[in-house]
């Protein structure tokens, strides 16, 4: 397995990755509180971006409603915790299958009719919207008033109940991102990965080569959805409050896709690089504006919109392919 993981990577790349990993592990010791929250955000988007990338970058299906899966994971774990004291890791066992089911439903509606990516994209938006409005009326999770998790002062970190310092969440998201990276690499170099790439490149030719495209597209959707729901669980227990209006909003979905697009769709390091660039820049922007006394809601979103526009127009393949070329890191399958 190690061979499969490292095959095609230059020595240079491996050393760089190792160094970055050490840096990431040591970061909390040097970073202040604010920087730590930014890092948490970065790895949150790196992880969700990686999950989204499976659907889009690998299987070629554009999802503009990924907030749905975050929301399902978040609400499942949070509501079970609030009502029954169920630990979030068990809540995940409920949330992930539910998210997978939602994905399967969307995929089934869109894929069996062999129409273009339009239908799929629209459906993802529609279902997320449906969830947003639906949860706004869902009394068991407190509807639009919001679901609140009890917050107390914690002396230690309780990993099982996800109650604790931001540091705990940082390492959790870091581990998740690394695990996602390894998982995606394994998937990409497997039979499933090859079929996904074929479907992404030319679906009809893939069919002519014997690939059951419906089956593999569904697989991508289901895996991506389940992976994303884990981010939802963390979201819920980190912020300790959930509002349907925020969690399922289309802005969340767009935030999720930004990192992989800026970094590079279909690449392994794209989402991570994109998260660093985008969140780093966005936080710097708002920080700078706040320092001058400017606090306008919507500025960050415009920044995101402009970034998206710039990347689409100038570097459509994302920053990572360009960067890895420059740094001489190019090997197979990065």
């Amino acid at each position: 397995m190690i061979a499969r993981l490292t095959e095609g990577l230059t020595a240079r790349a491996l050393v760089l990755m190792g160094a970055l990993l050490v840096l990431a592990l040591a970061a909390p010791m040097f970073a202040g509180d604010y920087l730590l929250t930014v890092l948490i955000l970065i790895f949150y988007f790196a992880y969700t971006g990686q999950a989204w990338n499976i659907m889009m970058g690998f299987a070629g299906q554009l999802s503009l409603g990924h907030a749905l899966y975050v929301g399902i994971g978040a609400y499942a774990a949070a509501s079970l915790f609030v009502h029954f004291g169920v630990a979030p890791w068990l809540g995940l066992l409920v949330g992930a299958p539910l998210a997978a089911l939602a994905g399967a439903f969307i995929g089934y509606l869109a894929f069996r009719f062999r129409v273009g990516g339009v239908y799929f994209a629209i459906l993802t938006i529609a279902v997320a919207e449906f969830a947003r409005v639906g949860f706004d009326h869902f009394t068991w999770v407190n509807a639009s008033s919001g679901l609140f998790l009890p917050v107390k002062q914690y002396s230690g970190n309780d990993l099982w109940h996800l109650r604790g310092q931001p540091v705990m969440f940082y390492y959790l998201l870091l581990a998740a991102t690394v695990a996602a990276l390894i998982g995606c690499r394994l998937l990409l170099t497997s039979r499933i990965g090859y079929f996904w790439l074929a479907i992404r490149e030319d679906e009809e030719a893939a069919r002519a080569a014997g690939i059951d495209t419906f089956h593999y597209k569904m697989l991508a959707v289901v895996i991506s959805a389940a992976m994303t729901s884990f981010a939802g669980v963390i979201y819920a227990f980190y912020y300790n409050n959930l509002f349907p209006e925020q969690v399922f909003h289309i802005s969340r979905s767009i935030e999720i896709i930004l990192a992989p697009i800026v970094g590079g769709i279909g690449t392994l390091f794209g989402p991570i690089l994109g998260a660093f660039i985008l969140t780093g820049l966005a936080e710097t922007l708002t920080g700078a504006l706040n320092a001058v006394g400017v606090d306008i809601p919507g500025v960050k979103q415009i920044f995101y919109g402009i970034c998206l526009l710039a990347v689409i127009l100038a570097l459509p393949d994302g920053v990572w392919p360009w960067l890895s070329q420059r740094l001489g890191l190019k090997g197979r399958g990065s």
Binding site: L62, I122, V127, G298
Partner: protein, 290 residues
């Protein structure tokens, strides 16, 4: 509840639906010809609506009077956007086009948010509370005028496509891109024209819609989604289908608002979308998919 109430709400819904249909018509035209999926459709409409609000506050001109100037302005906007940003993307993969328009949509929504703030705004016309009575049926004046205006604009568009040379040229482009080029049609120009027409449609629809609803910046994405639901329900690529779909959705939303709770009415539009995709994916008036 008395039958009259149902009838009133239903008629109101149908009239509103005509305006929705006009909005969706713009989307259908753009997709049918340029083959671009306009994810910024609703956002463009809210943009037009805010312009109307500003002009109304400044000049006290009725939206229906502003209809033509707004439509013309939106035409210009659409033409520019297509010619400068979208044209190079015709040959790019589908998802690049989507994302380009998603980016434009995001920027529009948030610029509107910064300029106008998140609170709802509307225009108060003199006849805002008037109504007509036919027997036991009461029809809001605003909705009646809105419905009529929508029909007039839609009819104008139909006539354009059916009877003018330019309209025929555009339809030729839709049918056969290469063939159109071969007979000497300036396809890029025609595409930009079509996008402009779609934008004009949406500008007109938005202006008319202000008679009935107020507007917030976040209405943009909601209207984009609604436009798509209507177009898919009515049939992707069918112009009459857009109107039929619009009326259906308008009617459903009105009845849902009456029978259940108004804040959940979009869920019913979504339910219709799912039903259509399950049972008749080409839409009510669409051609059978290959």
């Amino acid at each position: 509840m008395p039958l009259d109430l149902y009838l009133n709400v239903a008629i109101g819904g149908v009239l509103t639906g005509l305006v929705y249909g006009l909005m969706a018509l713009g989307l259908s035209v753009i997709f049918g010809v340029v083959r671009v999926v306009n994810f910024a459709h609703g956002e463009m409409m809210t943009m037009a609506m805010y312009v109307v609000i500003t002009l109304f506050a400044a000049l006290h001109l009725d939206p229906l009077v502003l209809l033509v100037p707004i439509a013309v302005a939106m035409f210009g906007f659409g033409y520019l956007v297509q010619a400068s940003l979208i044209n190079p993307f015709i040959t790019r993969p589908e998802h690049s086009q989507f994302l380009l328009l998603v980016a434009i949509a995001t920027i529009i929504v948030n610029v509107l948010l910064i300029i106008y703030g998140p609170d709802a705004q509307n225009v108060q016309v003199a006849y805002a509370f008037d109504s007509y009575q036919i027997g036991k049926v009461i029809i809001d004046a605003t909705k009646l005028y809105a419905g009529i205006a929508a029909i007039v604009v839609a009819a104008a568009l139909f006539c354009f496509f059916q009877y003018t040379r330019l309209g025929t040229a555009i339809r030729a482009c839709a049918d056969n891109y290469t063939g159109a080029q071969v007979v000497g049609l300036d396809v890029k120009h025609l595409y930009a024209l079509t996008f402009g027409l779609g934008a004009a449609c949406v500008g007109a629809a938005g202006t008319i819609l202000l008679l009935i609803f107020d507007v917030t910046p976040s209405a943009g994405p909601a209207y984009t989604l609604l436009a798509f639901v209507i177009v898919i329900t009515g049939g992707l690529g069918s112009m009459p289908g857009a109107l039929v779909g619009g009326v259906l959705i308008g009617f459903t939303e009105a009845m849902a608002g009456l029978l259940f709770t108004p804040s959940a009415k979009s869920m019913f539009s979504f339910a219709i979308l799912v039903l259509v995709l399950l049972l008749r994916p080409q839409g009510i008036m669409g051609r059978r998919l290959a």
